[in-house]
């Protein structure tokens, strides 16, 4: 029986248990007798949990152990005597046998597989049967044990609620597990990378050419992992060009929509601006590569800038800036709205015009919030992948010419991991080191930004 069928069988047994226990508990509430502690449904759930949980835990453990047991039994069979010694070849034959037995392969490549097949099938049937019987027995035993405990004064609800609380706690621990998983996987692979390339060379080197050649005598076989051009490209596109677009446009849109626009205009314009944030980044990337970049290149050529590339930093940065506008705008919106009305009224009452009030009172007062929002926007821009992959190019140039091609951390991560590469090479491991740097920088930016915003909010509360 397959694990999936067993799973449904156990769940079915749980359903049966629920109805039986509920029927029994329904009989507790007889006139004259003391009132039962828990509602019949809770008795039902109590028995169901006892029937299902131990059986499912066993099933999970068993489906982890069973393949090993089956292989062991197959190896002990007389047919296994001709098998080659443990190693690649033996593993290949065994996986072929498994494929044959499960029907994923139609014919064996190695004739030995066919001779082993009966033994394997026999062992699989044997252990599958043992697993199925034990699971069903556990389900019945758990259910029966819980069933015998049902009494009118049995505190079924408290026990069921304890399980519910445990489930809630486990669900919220998954967030921590994810964080640990990210940090651990990035750190583990990065350490392996730093065993091959020194961290100092990685962080301060200015030559990036991750191609490690297959033959030692090939040209450029060394492979250089100096990531400074990548860091510069990321900052140039994400923190400089994109912000030059996003900060003025975002801030001015927020000011116009909150201070000048009629409420009806604001009601329509704000969602339209938010659409900019909802467009998938791959669409922006396609737009940048197909429309913006060629236009910029012909513009650069027409004003006589040499070395304009069709994959320019400017194209990626501009489009990324537009993508970030609603982000900056909504952060600025929030922080301007948090400035107390009395400050605005005071300034207007003194005879200042609206723009003077905004420039001299509202924006200075909201500045920490705006700065926090900009930091968050920068952290988003430098982690953005698809726009730069599609529009920024791969040449690791250390240049401040916006019409030249630069590359970024995220572009290189994609580039390093999407080819056909063995997993242990310095080239693939470098992607994890880059990921670690990206993770740490965005984490730092987020923490600083959130702290700035929080402190500022407290100042006016």
């Amino acid at each position: 029986m397959t694990p999936l069928a067993l799973l449904f069988l156990v769940l079915g047994l749980g359903l049966v248990a629920w109805f039986t226990a509920r029927a029994k508990a329904g009989g507790f509430a007889t006139p004259g007798a003391p009132r039962p502690h828990s509602r019949p449904n809770y008795h039902g759930w109590y028995v169901t949990l006892w029937a299902v949980i131990p059986a499912l835990i066993f099933l999970a453990v068993w489906s982890g152990v069973q393949p090993g047991l089956v292989i062991d039994a197959t190896l002990k069979s007389p047919a296994a005597a001709q098998l080659p010694p443990p190693g690649m070849e033996r593993a290949a034959i065994l996986s072929e046998v498994r494929g044959l037995a499960e029907g994923t392969i139609e014919a064996a490549f190695n004739p030995l597989s066919d001779t082993l097949l009966p033994a394997y099938k026999q062992a699989r049937l044997h252990y599958g049967l043992i697993g199925a019987v034990l699971t069903v027995i556990l389900a019945f035993a758990g259910g029966a044990y819980a069933f015998t405990r049902l009494k009118p004064d049995f505190r079924a609800r408290n026990r069921v609620e304890r399980v519910v609380m445990a489930v809630l706690l486990i669900a919220s621990l998954i967030a921590i597990l994810t964080t640990i998983g990210i940090v651990a996987s990035l750190l583990f692979e990065s350490l392996r990378f730093f065993a091959k390339v020194s961290p100092i060379e990685f962080l301060t080197g200015t030559v990036w050419s991750p191609q490690t050649a297959i033959r030692a005598d090939q040209v450029g076989s060394s492979g250089a992992f100096g990531a400074v051009p990548l860091f510069w490209g990321t900052i140039f596109i994400g923190a400089i060009i994109a912000m030059i677009v996003a900060i003025p446009l975002g801030l001015m849109s927020a000011i116009y929509l909150t201070q000048y626009a009629k409420p009806s205009t604001r009601k329509w314009m704000k969602p339209i601006l938010e659409i900019l944030a909802g467009v998938p980044t791959v669409v922006y990337g396609y737009f940048a590569a197909l429309t913006v970049a060629p236009a910029l290149r012909s513009f650069a050529a027409s004003i006589g800038i040499a070395g304009a590339s069709s994959e320019s930093a400017l194209a990626a940065g501009l489009v990324m800036g537009v993508m970030i506008i609603p982000f900056v705008s909504s952060m600025a919106d929030d922080s301007i709205a948090a400035v107390p009305q009395s400050m605005r009224d005071g300034s207007l009452a003194m005879g200042a015009t609206m723009s003077e009030t905004i420039k001299k009172v509202l924006v200075p007062a909201a500045l920490p919030g705006v700065v926090g929002g900009v930091l968050l926007a920068v952290s988003r821009a430098i982690g953005e992948t698809m726009i730069v992959v599609m529009a920024a190019g791969l040449a690791a140039n250390l240049t401040a010419n916006p019409f030249a091609s630069v590359t970024t951390v995220t572009t290189q991560i994609v580039q390093l991991l999407t080819g056909d590469q063995e997993f242990d090479s310095a080239k693939t491991l470098a992607a994890f080191a880059l990921g670690l740097v990206l993770f740490l920088v965005t984490l730092l930016l987020n923490i600083v930004a959130l702290r700035v915003v929080k402190k500022y909010r407290e100042a006016y509360e």
Partner: protein, 436 residues
């Protein structure tokens, strides 16, 4: 831009003026003051105009983006077809019409050299090299025509077959001179038409832009989203409930909160690296499979759902909890019978927005190998698959010019899905929003 405006009062407050006991009132009618007020009002108007420009620029960019995509994309939903006269009795085809009526029809057709027949017919009809006017998949149209009506095998029949990329481009926009000339000739003969391309919605990826479709990618996206939803929604809602309703305020809960807030801001590509290292290299799940994509996206979407869920739960007024507790409900009953149902619309809105973000996500899926060339729709959660945004990325890299309009058409489909999801979220919010 901001010319410093001197404060008139401060100017009068100079040491010399302070000594004279009488402060002369400002003469607002004087020419100097009038021009200063004018300057200030002009500055006000300039500032206001700048604000409006900023908004309009953003809107203009959005409009330009959408118009470009839709303009290109509309053409992707159509295809050009050529009328191909085939003289079946004279052809080399050996097919028994009787066999085509039975259940063996597919096998009989599979053995027939329809490709050769179509090529020969094109060469006869349009001269030497006429075969190149047809799409590589022209014979599929011939097969369908035979299947629909086996009797045409006994006579001469006109069959509409898809045209090659060059003819397709020539019919819709500009193309290479040779293709334009060929198209003009066909048009004169009345042997060409452009119509709706249903194959685009039902086929999967292909190397020939006239044959590609998005159904394969769309199905991959749907399977991935199902996995994401099944994992992220329950886990997200349960942890939101725990953090908002039960969690004691201590270091552990703070840690959970901090990690959820940080996860929501971690770049998506980092989740791709996590998926690659944990799901593929450590747990050895199948590469390119929707189940791995769904797991990765679930980890990414969960924090969004938790944050939206917590806000929704927070907005349920305490009086409801107090009332339920007051009539003897346990704390679990309070939450599951009263708080959760009231907070559900808000949670659902947040979930839909998180799912829309996951649907448009590309980078993490590239990391776990969902960029493979998949020419048939995935049939299960562990089959190799690709998703719509990755398909867009793959097509955008193609050299063949025919893919430009197909990429835009796929983008239009993706945007329609996102629009529908966000529209649903807004509808839910407006319909069920309760002001307590």
């Amino acid at each position: 831009m901001n010319s410093r405006i001197p404060n008139p009062v401060a100017q009068l407050d100079m040491p010399g003026a302070a000594e004279s006991a009488v402060r002369r009132p400002t003469d607002w009618k004087s020419g100097a003051m009038q021009s200063r007020v004018r300057r200030r009002y002009a500055a006000e108007r300039r500032f206001r105009f700048l604000g409006l420009t900023a908004v309009l620029l953003s809107v203009a960019f959005l409009t330009f983006l959408l118009v470009t995509m839709i303009g290109n994309g509309i053409r992707g939903f159509t295809r050009t077809e050529i009328r191909l006269p085939i003289d079946f009795p004279a052809s080399t085809l050996i097919l028994d019409p009787a066999a085509l009526r039975g259940p063996e029809a597919d096998r009989a057709l599979a053995g027939a050299d329809l490709e050769g027949v179509a090529a020969a017919a094109a060469d006869t009809a349009f001269g030497q090299g006429g075969n190149r006017l047809l799409s590589d998949g022209a014979w599929i149209a011939v097969r369908q025509a035979i299947k629909a009506d086996p009797s045409i095998l006994g006579r001469k029949a006109d069959i509409w077959v898809p045209a090659s990329t060059g003819i397709d481009l020539a019919a819709k926009s500009e193309a290479a001179a040779a293709d334009e000339a060929a198209h003009a000739r066909l048009e004169q003969a009345g042997a060409v038409r452009t119509g709706l391309n249903l194959g685009f919605l039902t086929a999967a990826d292909s190397t020939d832009p006239t044959l590609v479709g998005i159904w394969g990618a769309l199905k991959g996206s749907l399977l991935t989203m199902v996995v994401t939803l099944l994992l992220a929604f329950p886990i997200g809602v349960l942890s939101a409930l725990y953090l908002e309703e039960y969690a004691p305020r201590n270091r552990w809960t703070d840690l959970i909160e901090v990690s959820i807030n940080n996860l929501a801001a971690v770049p998506s590509i980092i989740f791709g690296l996590l998926g690659l290292a944990v799901f593929l290299n450590f747990m050895h799940l199948p590469r390119s499979a929707p189940v791995v994509g769904g797991l990765t996206l679930a980890l990414m979407t969960m924090p969004v759902i938790v944050i939206a869920g917590r806000n929704a739960i927070k907005s349920v007024p305490p009086s409801i909890r107090d009332a339920a507790l007051g009539i003897g409900a346990s704390r679990v009953q309070v939450v599951f019978h009263h708080v959760l149902p009231l907070a559900l619309p808000g949670i659902l809105t947040g979930t839909i927005i998180g799912m829309a973000r996951a649907l448009g996500e590309t980078a993490p899926l590239l990391m776990i190998g969902m960029r493979a060339f998949i020419s048939s729709p995935p049939s299960g959660l562990t089959e190799p698959a690709t998703v719509l945004p990755v398909q867009i990325f793959l097509w955008s890299d193609e050299v063949n010019r025919g893919f430009v309009e197909k990429t835009s058409a796929a983008i239009v489909v993706l945007l329609l899905f996102l629009l529908a999801m966000n529209g649903l979220a807004i509808y839910l919010r407006n319909k069920f929003e309760t002001r307590w």
